[in-house]
């Protein structure tokens, strides 16, 4: 390992810069819209930087690299579908244009406008479960990267996680969305340059053409085709396509940027540009993962392989630049997610359930308290929980808890006049059932110390479970709305 003092200095410069921005932004926050959606002043370039930076977390690099390490170039299909979803939304304005016109702060707020307060609270609860369950893994994978990349002793993993949480929580509490967007920009600069440079070094190490030949030898001749690949195949492609569209319109950190843009038309431009960036977002770390697999062999550790490999082949200086970029990736994603879920808890759970109006400063204070509480929760869960499958699979499952019901409820609410309250409840109940049961069973089994796969694990394959959840969500919305559609008391409000 060659992580030098110069490399550490680059990392330290970035952390200090992030704190300075947090302090600077703090003075500008006057109300909840400033804190959660930066006063709706985000323009095109800052919007692209912020959207890419938020979705380009260290966890993203780690799970993409893990997919590349395990399954080779077939994993590129993940990036292609995700980019296609963003492009389609940018081209058509599907959901994002209508939702931005409503001047709301969270997507779940729309569920109250269109359906009822109960639907909003249910959606917010499912979203909070999905968000907090993902955050623990974010922290763990981030710490695995830093420990392996910088050669910190592995015994310091938990200490590293704790330090990371403290840093992120402090500056998120200080500056809210303004500091998040500004640090996103700084992260974008470090990470975009760092990722391109790292990819050049990986390709230089293995050879541009020969990396494909070596991969064919390692993974087998048929492993390039995602449609016939045992890990992916048609079920995965169908599931991932619906999941990607949900990710564009429902995932609160992304939605928050849609709602923070200066006007609805801008969202379409941002989504189209971001779609190209998202090809690189997936391709680069998958390439590094493949490079690591070729370096360490198929028997190596797919999770820790990528950081170890990069630490071996990158020169001093570039190592520090990429580490600062990765550190920035961790911070800017974790801070965005902290602020997103704290916003959901305050705006969509506490405020509607309390009944009485909460003052602007009260909401900002409550959001800051939630940031702190979620930080503690993610640390505890991140230290305790052990992943059974890949991180990518786990994150798909926990996120589907919300997406599978959220997508039909949002889309039908915007585009289908007959969508109504029972339909919304049924969509959430049907959609969340399979992934929630699977994840809950997994956590219970781990708490009891049982290593065997549970009932819901064996009921369907992971791809089929995800796809079925979305199908069930849409069936729930259809059945509920059609059967009870004639009752005026249950009819949805047109937005």
């Amino acid at each position: 390992m060659r992580f030098s003092t110069f490399d550490w200095t680059l990392v330290a410069v970035y952390v200090l810069l992030a704190f300075a921005i947090g302090m600077l932004a703090r003075k500008r926050i006057t109300n909840i819209a400033d804190y959660l959606v930066a006063g709706r002043h985000i323009r095109y370039n800052l919007g692209v930087a912020s959207l890419v930076a938020t979705e380009l977390g260290l966890v993203t690099m780690m799970y993409f690299a893990e997919q590349g390490y395990r399954f080779g170039f077939a994993a590129f299909i993940i990036g292609v579908i995700w980019a296609a979803a963003y492009f389609m939304i940018g081209q058509t304005g599907f959901v994002v244009e209508r939702i931005r016109q409503l001047e709301i702060i969270t997507i779940t707020e729309y569920f109250q406008v269109r359906y009822s307060r109960g639907v909003r609270v249910l959606a917010a609860s499912l979203l909070t479960i999905a968000g907090v369950l993902s955050l623990g893994v974010f922290l763990k994978l981030g710490a695995v990267f830093i420990v392996n990349f910088t050669d910190i002793p592995e015994t310091s993993l938990h200490l590293t996680m704790t330090v990371l949480v403290v840093i992120v929580v402090i500056y998120t509490i200080l500056g809210g969305m303004v500091s998040v967007v500004l640090t996103d920009y700084v992260q974008f600069v470090f990470l975009a340059i760092g990722m391109l440079m790292a990819s050049v070094f990986v390709l230089h190490y293995h050879g541009v053409i020969s990396i494909f030949e070596k991969a064919r030898e390692l993974y087998g001749a048929g492993a390039m085709n995602p449609f016939t690949h045992p890990e992916y195949g048609w079920t995965f492609i169908a599931y991932w396509a619906v999941f990607a569209v949900s990710g564009c319109v429902l995932w609160q950190p992304v939605a928050q940027r849609i709602l923070a843009s200066e006007n609805p038309e801008l969202n379409r431009r941002i989504f189209k540009s971001t779609s190209v960036m998202f090809l690189g977002r997936a391709f680069f770390p998958i390439l590094w993962g493949i490079g690591a697999a070729l370096y360490f062999g198929a028997a190596g550790d797919p999770t820790a392989g990528m950081p170890k490999f990069l630490a071996e082949i990158l020169p001093i200086g570039i190592l520090g630049f990429l580490a600062a970029g990765m550190f920035a990736a961790l911070m800017s994603t974790d801070d965005s997610y902290l602020i997103a879920w704290s916003g959901i808890i305050v705006q969509d759970l506490i405020a509607p359930l309390r009944g009485k109006e909460i003052s602007e400063s009260g909401r900002v204070m409550l959001t800051r308290i939630c940031v702190f509480m979620i930080g503690i929760l993610m640390l505890i869960f991140g230290i305790w929980y052990e992943l059974k499958d890949s991180a990518f699979r786990y994150l798909l499952d926990v996120t589907t808890i919300y997406y599978a019901g959220g997508l039909p409820v949002l889309v039908a609410g915007l585009y289908w006049k007959r969508a109504n309250l029972p339909g919304a409840y049924l969509a959430f109940a049907f959609g969340a059932f399979l992934p929630l049961a699977f994840v809950a069973e997994d956590i219970i089994l781990q708490a009891r110390g049982i290593g065997e796969p549970g009932f819901f694990n064996e009921l369907f394959s992971a791809n089929m479970r995800g796809l079925m959840s979305f199908v069930l969500g849409f069936i729930g919305m259809g059945i509920g709305s059609i059967i009870t559609g004639n009752s005026p008391a249950l009819a949805g409000k047109q937005s």
């Binding site: 323009r43 692209v48 990819s199 090809l279």
Partner: protein
């Protein structure tokens, strides 16, 4: 080279060039927007405090 190797090679090339192009644009123009964001929010704060 088989079909999928060519597909992934072309896709990777397109993704890399697109990424580099948009990233350069965003880095250059985003800085001015970041300054403007701080300025606008600061302006609102001053208005609320009754200052010019």
């Amino acid at each position: 080279m088989d079909f999928w190797e060519i597909v992934w090679m072309v896709a990777f090339g397109y993704g890399t060039l697109g990424f580099a192009f948009i990233a350069t644009n965003v880095i250059v123009k985003g800085f001015a927007e970041a300054r403007s964001l701080l300025h606008e929010l600061g302006g609102e704060e001053e208005k609320q405090e009754g200052r010019p």
